[in-house]
Symmetry: C4
């Protein structure tokens, strides 16, 4: 019994020594952190001009440039070295380009509505209206967002700078590489989908409206125009250009939402990465104040970003839900040719895959924001200061997530609710026996 | 290393000095607050008699006066200078007027049920019953509410007086202006909708029951009466007056719910506004006791108001859900004339817009009640007293929201659930093929 | 400024004195409480033998006696003066009576299944199977419950004794009076409903199977027997007795669930009543330990009761859901006579009213268990001990409610979910066009 | 009054003494615990080699061996004495066997898809595709799991060793016996179900495709092959073997999920069992640190296991949902013979029972993880250290449960949601009038 007591005393002393060492370690870490931060503010970060500095602003630049080619996000300075270079001007050609596009789309939407009300109205015939309407609304939201983008990016950059620095170039380029590869993949697939749609329409036209297949394709593509005006080639090509821009916009809404989700997740992942290494040591209270304020600044950024982009989120989710329902409904039809079947199933897979990606990338913000709570539970009793307890209770009462105009939070569980709704709606919709009219020429609105 | 330590000591000292200054500031602020409050109780607030003092009681007065013209809310003294002037009396002409109206509506409802049971019962033919029934129930609830209104308003005024004063006249008139403009907008639109309904019915009568268009309109409007009695002009006009009063009541239920939501949100917004400026400073604990008790008194007021008006909430939400479903169902019909189409789509938009406004205004109470939690997370470690922690845990365990008889809380997320239900019910209902009978004369119940 | 400081000091001193007085008050209260409790254990409570002592055991006694007449709940000593007198014996005539009833019902259920499988199986033809099956399962659960009842009631009595005593006879008789009046109302209405059903069947037999109306009624009532055996009067009367007992059991399941809900709510209400008066004073910590352990013992009792009765809850809710759906489905039929219509709508209203009562009474346990949390928020800062904080956090993490085999908690919000499901199922079911066969003689299974 | 005070002092002193004794007890307990753990690491646990040591690794061994016979879970050393003996090798025959099986199943799935696309596609004709696809996906997941299994089992064993030892052999063998009996029951029932399916198909072939009943059965069983190849006996038997393996895999997925759920529940139950005896005594803070870290290590294990098996969970729940819907849909059909009816209802009961078991066993992990929270509420005020409060707040903010790829948590409440969905889908599906084609020979895809 006595030996036991001796041993316990010895263990106790060893523990104390260890704790002291760890606390010294913690203090040293804190000093190091403050120095690094000080250094960061002081000196001018000399680095190769073309290598990315790991900021979201730089990572997202090429995607924004592409969007501007298609008249979305008319903000200036997206290729600037830092977020300080961003600004919005009403007199920029980008803004005028964007406004012109919105006007054209509005007119096109009116033509589309005109075409639809002269046919029969059901869940399928409103497809072009939903397509036009959602992109029109999206373009308007992007214009609004462009005005808030510079301030938002500066705030984002501020949050990024407060986080611990990257350990190596691989980490620094991680976000940039991810964003670029996802953008490339999604845009390539959407291009392929569009080309396949042209191919299947041109070479296997099941109810030709003009003799020339190209003309017939242009005719079908801009039906809403030729319902009002007589056919002319230049109007057909104009309609085609409009159609390409709309299709790009339709894909870009989802891409943008994915990228924002990735950027915010990355911030939380960086904080977690740092926490992971230190959480099991008895760190000083100041460290936890540091973590809490960092976490808080990220969460405040998420709330701000959500306020700015949740309109676009709502469009993205709403239109995806509608189009998945619609395409699944069409999938019960017989395909007129093998090219149509290939196009249709490729298109359906692409649509479902894109929708699922949006949901998973965006919901990862919610998942990552909960992760520190799990890490906090590993803090040893000796290092469980009031600040840790405060952080834990704040984390558990928070409900951090991007949202669709705050009508719904985007979490992984939403996926199941959406899937359940799709199955229900599908089962009910199939009962309308839409099969007959879909690949049928006479079901098209009459032409003059 | 030594210089570093020196610098850190210097920073430490500066921080301490700053903290002391801030604490002094906090104490001064608290004294100022107590003085202001004391002053408020002592002196008699000499102000121009016609300028609003920013109280909910004064802001809501014109709306209540209008309601009393249409026999709702028979409480006396709504135009009194303060809530002290309110009282309810059984022997007031307002009460008798209200009781008479309820009796008339009951009789009218019985006639309506009589008409419906002699026709076919389906989701569409019960429309007049639901319309009459919900307004009857609403009128009864308003009568009950009138008895509780004086005590409720006095409590409300008490809570208002405890909150920090307004900084300028713009803030003071903010609530009044908002309530008046929303009331004006909603009532104007409802008047337009009613006039359009008369226009479309009189000038484009698709199945005239009498030769004279006015007579035919009166006949159709009070069909439940003329199913029992032979046609006479004075009975027709009586039915029309009853119909106008019902229509006003139907709109007023929603308006009242919106106004209550706005008033409660305003209280929370005022507290938040004050908190926002002080939250990042290390305030003394007494300040947080002050904030907590203020917040608590607002929440208790919300609970009391909810108990008093949740019956009206339930009617409002239930009837809106039913009528939106029904109008959407009618929207698949062919319109007999362009005037009908204009009326129908205006009416549908008005109905959806009104329902959405109710939901958004009322749910803002829930959103605003959560906001202080986000602000508390910005409190610096030095000022994080036990009271702050208590307030934070109370805020996160509370679930403050107005409700429909406590069967459902009214939050922004409810909107999605309601929209999902509407789509589901709509898809199922459409399968009944209601199209044929709706604009069809013979579908009307036979007349003797 | 100096006068201000003086005044504040004076206020401070006055506050301190007040606090001391209140703390003395609190201590006195605590002593009083301990004395009262001591007194309670020591002396023999001399009271008029027939007056209720306010215990749940005594309040529920007449209802259990009635149940035993109909062979449910075979526990002995339900009329004993205290819960100590309760015991369960396998050799009691009550147990044998109950077992015999279960056997008879099992045989009757088999006959019913036999009848159903020879007809067409749909949502309507399984009605007798659901009716028999749910009561059979209920009877079995009551038999099981009888074994646990004595221990449960003793525990309940123990919890009751720990709560503060009643202040006057009105409070003491409150629970007893409520339980008796609810039981009386429900049983009277169910008797009326049964007599109306006989009346409508005998005097307005729309497809007589025998010449004599009484015989024809008995025939229809015990159709499952006469599908196998030839008709005989004594078998008819036996079937009728069985049917009366089943109908009583069907109503009793709901009544029992309501009574249990009322009893548990009353316990929480008593604790709240005491808390309400003391919560705004700075009570000593021991008081809060007292409140917390009392609250805890009630909650543990609720968990135990839930474990014992949640099987019966599930039957009650499941069968109510099914029968409400079914009756609503029948409501679209034309009634063959006015007596049928009266019976049908009375029966439907009774069913909906009974189901709603069950839900509201049982969900009040959940509501009342949350109420102390709201009261705790009024505790002044001076009296906010660690125990108060602990109680608050326990209350907010608890989710106290009765449940249906823990598959669902019974809260007020369940009501909306159930109502939504009923509307959905109803809309879908109506599409099966069940109208034709329901009041039709040939739709009955063929008889030999 | 004075005697009262004396008595209270005496009681106070007694209490203090009791508390000291209990604290000594607590310390002694802690020492004992440390010794026992030390002893456990030091000595070599001499025990009879065949008696189970109560570890999950040993309990699950026979089930894994059986799975390996059917080519699932190709991990080596499942029969080793401890988890240290487990390892995964790419060059093991088990891995090759598993890969070969996956290849075969892939080819078979392609044949099945080929068969289906040449028939009509509806909810029923995709049955073989769902069956093949889910098992293929499951097999792939098991292969992936085999790679992670050794590390996972070692971690599991580590957690088990940290928990308090068993008190007697009955406790030690408890888990083993439960796992073996559940496995035996489920596999026996599934074997019976399969034999009954053969019996009903061979002896009551309602639309024979070959003269010989055995041949006809083999033909029907491997229809997807004979749609491409001409009939031959050896191909028929090959198809039968494949079919048996698929059926085993289909049942094994559910069995595996049940066993994992049982194992994790057992860990939590052991911790709770220990806590139950000590929770009402004032234990030292170190005890609570011990409990908290033990609880934390179990929860971390649950998270890890969830990450490893949640893919299999998703397949299990998804396929069960689909097959229950499908079988219920088939249940409205007329059965061609009594043997078919017996088989069908046995199969349906087995399917529903198996699905329900999966849900209940797996959801018990969530229920058990909440249980300590209820126990913590019984901790006396004297022993309510900071660690207890921390554990309580961690428990209430955690949401520990196994999940289906984190799309849904598996709790008891999920059951109701699933049941509600099944009823809804069923009601909608029945409207497709699938009755005619199901037991009909011509509805089968044409054969060449």
């Amino acid at each position: 019994m006595w030996r036991m007591q001796m041993r316990r005393q010895r263990i106790g002393r060893r523990c104390q020594r260890l704790r002291q060492q760890l606390q010294q370690h913690g203090r040293a870490w804190l000093e190091q952190l403050q120095q690094r931060r000080a250094w960061r503010v002081d000196c001018a970060r000399p680095r190769h001009s073309h290598s990315p500095d790991g900021s979201f602003h730089q990572a997202v630049a090429p995607v924004l440039v592409l969007a501007q080619c298609f008249s979305l996000m008319p903000v200036r300075g997206v290729r600037a070295a830092s977020a300080q270079g961003l600004y919005f001007s009403r007199h920029s050609w980008r803004t005028w380009y964007s406004l012109a596009y919105i006007c054209c789309t509005s007119v096109d939407t009116l033509f589309t509505i005109n075409l639809a009300v002269h046919g029969t109205l059901d869940v399928r015939s409103v497809e072009p209206i939903v397509f036009h309407g959602s992109i029109l609304w999206g373009s308007y939201h992007f214009l609004q967002l462009a005005r808030r983008w510079p301030a938002l990016m500066r705030r984002w950059a501020h949050v990024e700078q407060q986080l611990p620095g990257y350990e190596n170039w691989r980490q620094r380029e991680h976000l940039t590489r991810r964003i670029h590869s996802v953008s490339l993949a999604l845009l390539t697939l959407s291009l392929m989908e569009h080309l396949l749609s042209i191919l299947s329409a041109v070479y296997h036209d099941y109810c030709p409206m003009r003799k020339d297949p190209i003309e017939s394709y242009l005719y079908a593509d801009a039906q809403q125009l030729f319902y009002v005006f007589p056919y002319s080639n230049w109007l057909g090509w104009l309609g085609k250009i409009q159609n390409v821009m709309l299709t790009f916009g339709w894909n870009y809404i989802d891409l943008f939402v994915i990228i924002v989700g990735m950027g915010l997740s990355e911030l939380l992942a960086r904080l977690k990465h740092q926490l992971q290494h230190l959480v099991e040591r008895p760190m000083p209270e100041l460290f936890w104040t540091y973590v809490r304020t960092r976490y808080r600044s990220i969460v405040e950024l998420i709330y701000d970003v959500d306020e700015a982009v949740s309109g676009i989120m709502l469009i993205s989710f709403g239109s995806n839900l509608y189009f998945v329902c619609l395409q699944l409904l069409k999938s019960i039809n017989k395909m007129p040719s093998i090219v149509h079947a290939v196009y249709f199933y490729f298109s359906l897979s692409f649509l479902i895959g894109r929708s699922l990606s949006v949901l998973l990338f965006v919901s990862s913000v919610h998942d990552r924001a909960r992760e520190p709570l799990r890490l906090l539970q590993l803090v040893p009793p000796g290092g469980y200061h009031g600040e840790v307890s405060r952080l834990a209770s704040e984390l558990s009462s928070d409900n951090v997530a991007l949202s669709g105009l705050r009508f719904f939070s985007i979490t992984r569980k939403l996926c199941l609710a959406v899937a359940g709704s799709i199955v229900t709606y599908e089962l009910v919709l199939i009962q309308f026996h839409e099969d007959e009219k879909s690949w049928d020429c006479v079901a098209q609105p009459p032409l003059h």
